[in-house]
Amino acid sequence: MKVKISIRRTLLIRCGLGVGLLSVLLSLSIYFVVRQGLYEELDQSVRETASILANQMEYEHGKIIFEWQEGLGTNTDISDQALFQYWNEKSGLTTRSPHLAETDLPKFSGPDGNPDIETVVVPGRFENARALGMIIYPYLNPAEISDPPLPGKKFDPKNYPHTLVVARDLTPILRTLNILAATLAIGTLLTFVMGYIVIRRAVDSSLQPISKLTRQVHARSADRLDSAIILPSSLPAELVPLAESFDSLLSRLASVRDREKDFIRHASHELRTPIASLSAVTELALSRTRETEEYVRHLESCAETTDQLNKLVQRLSALARIDNRNTPPESVPLPLREMLSEALSEFAPALETAGLAVSITPKQGDFTALADPTLTRLILRNLIDNAATYAPLGSTITIHLSKNDDRISISISNPTTDLSENPDRLFEPLFRRDPSRTESTHLGIGLTLSREAAEAMQATLTADLPDSKTIRFTLSLPGT
């Protein structure tokens, strides 16, 4: 099973690793800085000792002497803490510091005799030592230059190169460094543990609003989908847009559900009357023994009602398809004049049968609206169907297109004898007018759904009575 990504775990792992890495890096830097410092300090003292010892090799009275040997007592510091050895490169003789006894230091020097510092091993003395090796030349007393001890024989220190190696013990430093390393390792571990605890608490308290929000969402029962989530005041700013989007998603869902409920309610209302009629006719027919002609009459009535039911179901399912579209309404430029002609041509036979004339004004002009083609077509078709059904025989249906304030309006008027006191009631589901001539196949659902379709695409559909004998429906759409 795929493990779900958890913000908490991710944060814990990442922050934990971050803190761990940071403290390891910090410890390492501390260790190396201290190590560097201690080494430099030791190297410095080795350098200083070497420089003192280099200066203490003198050419005096025709021979090379080591001053430290003379004042060995005052130079105890040097001879106690450092080991050193001179090699006379000319004679091959070597001079060791007293503590060296017979042991030799490793002999080395830098290129061209320059000082070079290395870590060395002094067998029997220092397991680890820092040693400086260089070539030195005896110091010539100025008096000796003006008054040479061996007349005629000028002394040139360059002819008496010596290699000097000075070593100091590194062990105490290494011990200190070991203690430091152990301390830092424990420190790092403690930092890691403490860091983990602190991070966990911080993550938990930061994620608490999410849990709160989740509980709130859980608490919303399915039948209260449209009630808004009460945003906790402590809700972090990052979560507010999420909660708000969720809220708006839920209210959209609720409105879809309401529409579905409405649709089912309308449909069941619509179906009730024909079913009541079918049940009444059959109950009547069966309530006693009747003549054959009477049965035929009742069966004919049943057939007629079944036909009505069939038409109603077809209409309902067509509307359901429009009502439950998964895609939101489109907003594309629609040439209304062309769409109108298309819808009118569909009703041409019905209009002709009823002797109805259609007048469209103005004759010219472009009326392009921004709307959904399917929904607009549905509305136009319903309005024309409506006008064709209710206009008296031989009358004229007037269609007027207009443009104002970024809106395109199309109004369809027809004379009628059945004027409702409140034309807005025509949009109520089931509201049925008295058709002037057709049998009652008009089921009072077309206008309701036309208005719903209009509202779905930010359009309006209204009805009014411009005079006492005319009904007018106006569809107003956003213009381009």
């Binding site: 069941s268 209302h269 024909p274 009541a276 009629s277 009444a280 109950e283 008295d434 009652s440």
Partner: protein
């Protein structure tokens, strides 16, 4: 008993009309609200079956207007609207009962009978006057031990007199509640049918139950309960 059906669905209206006529009711029917309102205002109906969704004037409007005019007719609403709010709205506007479509016609019949019993303050569907008993549900009539066979019109007349037993029923009342075509007409027809009823209700030597009040009408009552004719005349204005 005279009923009015206001329902715009033709086949439902016609079926209901025929069914109720076959159950001994006098039924008027119409498919539009305005005509329905006119009928209801002009005729004294026992019960009106009223649909709510109607052309021209809707059922709720008819209810409101009738109640405003103090028309005390019993109204049974028959509607496709099945919501609680719809039922409450209609009942609170003055409807006496509410039936949701589709409904079995026998239920409509039972509810109409119940409303009629309420109207005439009768509880038992079997009404007895002395040794005469009328089962208003089965539409059977018994006098003492004799089962009486009546025609639809005779039954209707007897049922009407029985619901109003003990009080004087005018010929106009009979005309309006019992006869199919209540307009104009000849009041002698009522006397003729009363005559038929008397003959059928008095098998053997059983005493007469339907008495004529001269100049007023008829009264159905037990022989011992008779109100002296002169006393009634005294109360005449």
């Amino acid at each position: 008993m005279r009923l009015l059906i206001i329902e715009d669905n033709t086949s439902l209206r016609e079926s209901l009309t025929q069914f109720l006529r076959e159950h001994s009711f006098v039924v008027d029917s119409t498919g539009t609200g305005d005509e329905g309102l006119w009928f209801a205002s002009e005729q004294p109906y026992d019960v009106i079956l009223l649909d709510l969704m109607l052309p021209k004037i809707d059922g709720m409007e008819i209810l409101a207007r009738l109640r405003k005019k103090q028309v005390s007719v019993f109204i049974l609403v028959i509607s496709a609207r099945d919501g609680l709010e719809d039922r409450l709205e209609a009942l609170n506007a003055g409807a006496d009962d509410y039936l949701t479509k589709p409904f079995p016609m026998v239920e409509a019949l039972a509810r109409i009978n119940a409303l009629i019993r309420r109207k005439y303050a009768v509880k038992d569907p079997v009404i007895s006057v002395g040794d005469l008993s009328i089962d208003t549900v089965r539409r059977t009539v018994k006098r003492a031990e004799h089962q009486i066979e009546l025609t639809a019109l005779e039954y209707r007349l007897l049922e009407y007199l029985t619901y109003r037993h003990g009080e004087v029923v005018t010929r106009t009342d009979i005309w309006e509640h019992v006869f199919e075509d209540s307009t104009g007409g000849n009041s002698n027809v009522a006397d003729v049918y009363i005559g038929y009823l008397r003959k059928k209700l008095n098998p053997g030597d059983l005493p007469n139950l339907i008495h004529t009040r001269r100049g007023q009408g008829f009264v159905l009552e037990e022989p011992g309960d008779q109100i002296p004719e002169t006393r009634i005349q005294e109360y005449q204005p």
